[in-house]
C-alpha cells in the first residue's frame, strides 16, 4: 500500500505465478483430470454456476436443483436473499 488512497485489491485481481520445487510425473492409471471424470463421478464432484431467479430463496433454489437432478445432497455458496 503506497498511500491510503490506493484501493484494496480484490481476490480476483491478484496475479499468481507457479514456482517449481521438484519434478515428478503423475501416473494415469489412477485418478482423472477433473474434466474427464466418468459421468457419475463428474456429477458428484460438480458445481453449477446458477443464475438465481427473483422470488424463491437461495435455499429453495438449491432444493429445486436437488429434485431436478435427483441427488441426495445439494448446497449453495453464499445466500442471496429472496
Amino acid at each position: 500500500m503506497r498511500s491510503a488512497m490506493t484501493r484494496s485489491v480484490a481476490p480476483w485481481e491478484i496475479k499468481r505465478k507457479l514456482l517449481t520445487k521438484a519434478e515428478d510425473k503423475t501416473n494415469l492409471s489412477y485418478g482423472h483430470k477433473p474434466a474427464e471424470r466418468p459421468a457419475e463421478e463428474y456429477m458428484r464432484y460438480g458445481v453449477i454456476n446458477l443464475d438465481k431467479p427473483a422470488g424463491p430463496t437461495s435455499h429453495e433454489v438449491a432444493a429445486w436443483v436437488k429434485r431436478i437432478l435427483n441427488l441426495q445432497q445439494v448446497g449453495h455458496g453464499g445466500t442471496l436473499e429472496a
Binding site: R7, S8, V9, A10, P11, W12, I14, R16, K17, L18, L19, T20, K21, A22, D24, K25, T26, N27, L28, Y30, G31, H32, K33, P34, A35, R37, P38, A39, Y42, M43, R44, Y45, G46, V47, I48, N49, L50, D51, K52, P53, A54, S58, V61, A62, W64, V65, I68, L69, L71, Q72, Q73, V74, G75, H76, G77, G78, T79, L80, E81, A82
Partner: protein, 255 residues
Amino acid sequence: MTGVLPVTLEESRKIVQALLYSGKEYVCVMKLHGDARENRVNEVLKEFEGEIYQRPPLRASVKRQLRTRKIYYLEFLEMDGRNVLFKVGCEGGTYIRKLCYDVGEVLGCGAHMQELRRTRAGPFVENVSIVTLHDVAYWFMEWQKQRDEKILRKFILPMEEALALIPKIYIRDSAVDAICHGANLTAPGVLSIETEINNGSIVAVFTLKGEAVALAKVAASTEEILNMEHGVVAKTERVLMARGTYPKCWKSSET
C-alpha cells in the same frame, strides 16, 4: 435478488465454506429518500471504499456483533432521479442492504436497497458458464435421453473451478492418499507452489492431474516452503478427495 449462486452437488458441498468467504461483486439500485446532487452521491460512495463496520441486520443467520468488511471497489454507474445504480466488489458476508442504508445516512436524505444482482461469487461470474434453472432441467433431461457426457459438461463444472482463486500447491502422487486420510502435507511431497502465499493462508492442495485433494492452512510462506527439505508445509483442514483414489504409499506401524 438475482444473479450468481454457485450450487454444489453431493461431494462438492465440502467446498461451500471456501465459497462463503470468497469475495463478491454486485450491481445495485439504491433508492434515495430525498434529492441529492450526483457528484455528492459519487463522493459519498467513494468514502465507503476500504474497510467498513457493519452490524448484521435483525434477520441474519450470524451473530449480531459489529464486524469489519472490506469494500474493494464501489463504482457509481448512473443516476436517474432518486435511483442510483452502482457496482460494488466486496468481501464475503458484506450486507449490501446495510451498505445502502449507511450511504443514505451519510448523504442525510436516507436510502434503501431497491434491487440487487450478484455478478460474481468467488471465481464464478455472470457472463461465463452461468445457467438458469430451466437450462438445468432441460440439459439433464437431454442427458438422460442421449447419455452423451458432453451434455453434462455443458451445465455442470468440476468442483475445482470453485477453487480457482485460492492459491495452490501441487503434490506428488505418492503424497495424495496420506492427505486423504487426514495427514498434513510435508515438504518432500511438494512439487510446485503458487506465489503470494503467507503463513496462515488457506491453500488448495492439487494433484498433477489438476484434481483437488484438500484445503489446508499453510505454516510458511511461498519462499520458505521452496527451501524446506522436511517438516509440515500445510495442515490439512478439509479433505476433498475420496480415500483410495490414489494408492497408499506410506508405512504403517500396524502392518
